[in-house]
């Protein structure tokens, strides 16, 4: 069984090295857009102290609030340096304006309702690695896996409060070389990413880890 696996992998690696790749020691620049999915940021209940004997009588609910970030499309730029033909270290920055929606329920004196909410300014600065997979995909396309972490900075609408957090991501993607891809030529192409992101802290009612998907498409230039 081991022999069979090796026999399958080795030709694939050999093929990948002949296919398009990065130029070790050279920079890559990219610009594009990222679409991030919406996600809940928790529930909160406004409770009054209940009236009854003892220290912990049943509380009285004044209202319940649930909130979520809506999906957002954000411009994104990145700079990377190729560490080898298949491995690159990358940094990226994106800016988005998701809407923070709040829903109210359980108010004995008001109907359930969704508030208009606010628009949050969101900056994300990331760093990570991409590794080009040694699989046969054609002369111009090379898939990769990526993982990394980032610093999240969110500003409420009136710009008087900043909440910060971290975003960890892992995903897959592919580069499509329109030009270049060899060891000695400059490159130009398109790139797509699909990620699962785990966000910690930032604006959140419960301060727990939140997961959301994202997809990005951008053009890159390899020097």
């Amino acid at each position: 069984m081991t022999g069979v696996m090796l026999a399958w992998l080795i030709p694939a690696v050999a093929f990948a090295q002949d296919g398009p790749g990065l130029r070790p020691g050279h920079f890559t620049f990219g610009a594009g857009v990222q679409q991030a999915g919406g996600y809940d940021i928790g529930d909160a209940t406004a409770q009054l102290r209940g009236n009854g004997p003892g220290t912990l009588p049943t509380p009285f609910t004044l209202f319940q609030a649930t909130s979520r970030f809506t999906a957002v499309t954000a411009p994104m730029m990145h700079v990377g340096i190729a560490l080898s033909r298949t491995l690159a270290f990358e940094t990226a920055a994106s800016y988005g304006r998701p809407r923070l929606a709040v829903s109210i329920a359980g108010d004995p004196e008001a109907p359930a309702q969704e508030l208009p909410g606010e628009t949050v300014e969101q900056y994300l600065f990331e760093a990570g690695l991409t590794w080009q997979l040694p699989v046969r995909t054609g002369r111009r396309v090379a898939p990769f896996v990526a993982a990394g972490a980032g610093y999240l900075r969110q500003l409420h609408e009136d710009r008087t409060l900043v909440e910060t957090g971290q975003v960890y991501h892992a995903g897959i993607g592919a580069r499509y070389w329109l030009r270049g891809g060899g060891r000695s030529s400059k490159a130009f192409g398109l790139r797509g990413d699909l990620r699962l992101n785990l966000r910690r802290h930032g604006i959140d009612f419960e301060n727990t880890m939140r997961a959301y998907p994202s997809a990005a498409l951008f053009a890159f230039i390899g020097l």
Binding site: G42, A44, T45, A46, Q47, L48, R49, G50, N51, G52, P53, G54, T55, L56, P57, P59, F60, L62, F63, A65, S67, L100, V102, I104, D107, P108, E109, A110, Q113, L115, P116, G117, E118, H156, E157, D158, T160, L161, I203, D204, F205, N207
Partner: protein, 330 residues
Amino acid sequence: MTRLIAMTAVVLLTAGAASSSAYLKLGAVVNGRVVDATWQQQPIGLFISDSGSNGVSASDVRGAVERAAATWSAVEGANVRFAYQGMTSAPPEGTDGKNTIGFLERPDLDRVLGATSFMVDATTGEIYEADIFFNSSFAFSVSPGGQNGRIDLESLALHELGHLLGLGHSAIGETERLSNGGRRVSGSGAVMFPIAMTAGAISERVLEADDKAGLLDLYPTGSVVSDTGGIVGRVTKSGRGVRGAHLVAFNPETHIMIGSFTLSESGEFVIGRLPPGPYILRVEPLDDAEPDNFFPAAVDTDFRVTYAPRMVVAPRGGSSMPIEIQVLPK
């Protein structure tokens, strides 16, 4: 020459106020301007009347008052100190230069559990003297776990000491009307809510965020001003300001609730001493309470419960951008 004025604040058993949120301060009008009524000298000396009532001794009263005083003094960021100065045979009323706390037989006040009276310098707002009486027409308890059928004296002392410090009533609370015309508290978000819990309850021995915010506003230590923030805005109906609207600021991250009112015809409000952060704002009329528990003048109660369209941030050391909350008639 010092010009003194007398003021009284009471806590009610089943008559009076309200629903949902806020701290309100007692004030004196100085040259047409309202200034906070506060103690300028500390520690605030307290005498205890030497008479007991209905199974509760003067020593029991002292214990309950000292525990309540310690609760107010423990508020972080506030500069409040009390000092027990001894027993006195003087009743807890009148002007004698002593701050006296004790029982008084007041069967005529059949819904008043206790009251605080003040002498305030009308030129500065300084409180010179304050007395607190507990109405001995009611049965009180100092049992650590509370006692069925008896009002918890420590809870009542905590409320009245809040008045003694210069706090008015909070409207953070919900009531239901009883067949006898009074009200029963369904829930309360402040010790300074004007209607007492059911006899036997002891949960109001603990201050809420609204109580603490009010105290911090009156007696802040140096860092409080820079460590807290405020939310300012206006409540309007058909383009005109609403007077007497009650606001609750609820932080969904910390779950604290602090309230305020619109105090003028313009409908403007300030919710101060908020821990920095985002807040959901709820506006409601004072329609399930007697508004005179909070305001001497008429208030507008003809509008529906309304929420601010978005969360509003109380920034550290400053105030939010003004927000307008438009309410609709009922």
